[in-house]
């Protein structure tokens, strides 16, 4: 657990003054199910990228390129929304 800061060390007014610092928070550890993709079925519609609440769908050259497991919470929205059902949710601990 990181040391929390004192009132003297944080910006006033509850402001977050560092853009995009949510990336430092590794929500990947929350996962009990991990998404896995069947490349053969994927049509690269990128619905998963649109719906993912944690920006954890990687995209390269306009194509679905896997998951950011540092931040993916395993919520399963991508699997649920996938029109060709190419994402499976697999147990983290077998």
């Amino acid at each position: 657990m990181e040391n929390k800061k004192s009132w003297k060390e944080i910006p006033i007014g509850g402001k977050i003054i560092e853009a995009g610092n949510a990336a430092k928070y590794n929500t990947g550890s929350w996962r009990t199910f991990r998404p896995e993709k069947n490349d053969k079925k994927c049509i690269n519609c990128l619905f998963c990228w649109i719906y993912c609440p944690d920006s954890s769908i990687k995209v390269e050259d306009d194509k679905m390129a896997g998951f950011d497991y540092e931040h993916c919470k395993g919520c399963g929205i991508c699997a649920s929304i996938c029109p060709v059902k190419c994402i499976d949710m697999k147990k983290e601990i077998q």
């Binding site: 006033i12 007014g13 402001k15 003054i17 853009a19």
Partner: protein, 395 residues
């Protein structure tokens, strides 16, 4: 005799004129009696092109304060004004303005809160939000209303403070009475308030920031602690602003004002316009040889504890006048605060409380005289028979 060159202004006109000289970037306001003339007169300045302010006419006070919060966070010098039920409707956002540390300045024309519905003066509106984290300044007359509105800008924006400020005046009594005002030179006002620079404005798109995120058990407390520390810091930072004000305009102010208090045996503590009427009575009593005095807190939040204690150290019997009832069954807010301040100091004058003037009930010199008569009796007997009194209410 040199010409004084005083301008006839009501308290509301005084605020509007101060706002014209301040020329804030944004004003979002909704008219409500007895604040209406502030919005009306300032709208005229806007319509006539005498200010460059973006005036946002909103549909409610909740929206007014919300717009102010947004504007101030964006980096705009922001003002609004309200009274009573309007302030009550803002309530939620009043707290948000303070906790987001936005230096909004809001003249408030004190009016009784409903119900029963009433449009006249008492302090129940602003006293109700004394715990909202705003700095509270109470003005005796229109001249002070004018000066404190200008002063409030620098207090709110002081780097060590960064808290919103309410500048309170008595509804109708001050807001609608014409008095002669000495106005400051436009340029001097501009120089005094300076440029408004906020750290981390929302509109700085090269450095994106987030305002108002969820703040739970892990950091909310620290942010509240910061607010408390800022209010404490205001006690030492405000004098810097007052000194600069004196240097610029030649007007010397303090957290409190004392009137013939140095050798006083009995004293009244009162705020706003009533303090003026108390001065009138003190003068009469002094002519009769009664050692009467007045203590007037000008800044109520932060609470100037040390100043008040020092001022009261030689007084034997004190009556605190509250123009609001806090329904604590223990007395009005000013009274309980002063009693609490005295507790540790070892200074223990005989102290009593008078709730007065609710809903605009006039307070006459005869009423104040009665309080001093009570104080003389307390001085003689050494006993406070009734700590909590209702001055001017029919029994």
């Amino acid at each position: 005799m040199t010409k004084k060159n005083l301008i006839p202004f009501t308290g509301d006109q005084a605020v509007a004129y101060a706002m014209k000289q301040i020329d804030p970037d944004v004003v979002a306001a909704y008219p409500i009696t007895p604040q209406t003339e502030i919005v009306m007169n300032f709208s005229n300045y806007v319509a006539n092109g005498q200010v460059s302010t973006e005036m946002i006419p909103v549909e409610s006070e909740h929206s007014a304060m919300s717009a102010c919060v947004g504007a101030a966070a964006a980096g705009a010098r922001t003002m609004t004004a309200t009274s009573a039920n309007g302030l009550a409707l803002m309530w939620e956002i009043v707290y948000i303005a303070a906790s987001t540390r936005l230096p909004i300045v809001m003249p408030v024309v004190n009016r009784a809160l409903s119900g029963p519905i009433n449009i006249h003066c008492d302090h129940s509106d602003t006293m109700g939000c004394r715990d909202s984290g705003w700095i509270h300044i109470y003005c005796e007359n229109a001249q002070e209303v004018y000066e404190n509105t200008i002063l409030a800008i620098r207090i709110a924006e002081h780097k060590k403070i960064l808290l919103p400020v309410m500048v309170c005046q008595d509804g109708f009594i001050t807001s609608h009475a014409v008095e002669g005002l000495e106005l400051f030179d436009d340029k001097k006002v501009k120089d005094f308030i300076g440029e408004y620079k906020i750290e981390n404005p929302l509109l700085d798109v090269d450095h994106p920031v987030t305002y108002g995120p969820l703040d739970l058990q892990d950091y909310y407390f620290e942010h509240k602690r910061q607010q408390g520390e800022a209010m404490k810091a205001a006690l030492t930072a405000i004098p810097e602003v007052l000194k600069k004000f004196e240097k610029t305009f030649g007007r010397k102010y303090d957290f409190i004002e004392t009137y013939k208090l140095d050798d006083a045996e009995i004293a009244i503590v009162a705020m706003s316009s009533t303090a003026g009427t108390v001065k009138f009575v003190v003068d009469e009593l002094r002519q009769k040889g009664v050692k009467a005095g007045l203590l007037r807190p000008r800044i109520f939040r932060p609470f100037p504890k040390e100043k008040l204690i020092t001022a009261l150290k030689n007084v034997k019997a004190v009556a605190v006048l509250d123009r609001s009832e806090s329904f604590s069954a223990e007395g009005g807010p000013l009274y309980t605060d002063i009693k609490a301040a005295l507790y540790d100091s070892g200074i223990r004058p005989l102290i009593s409380n008078y709730i007065y003037g609710l809903g605009g009930r006039d307070i006459f010199p005869a009423d104040i005289n009665k309080v001093y008569v009570d104080l003389q009796d307390i001085l003689k007997t050494g006993k406070v028979k009734t700590p909590l009194n209702y001055l001017g209410s029919r029994e």
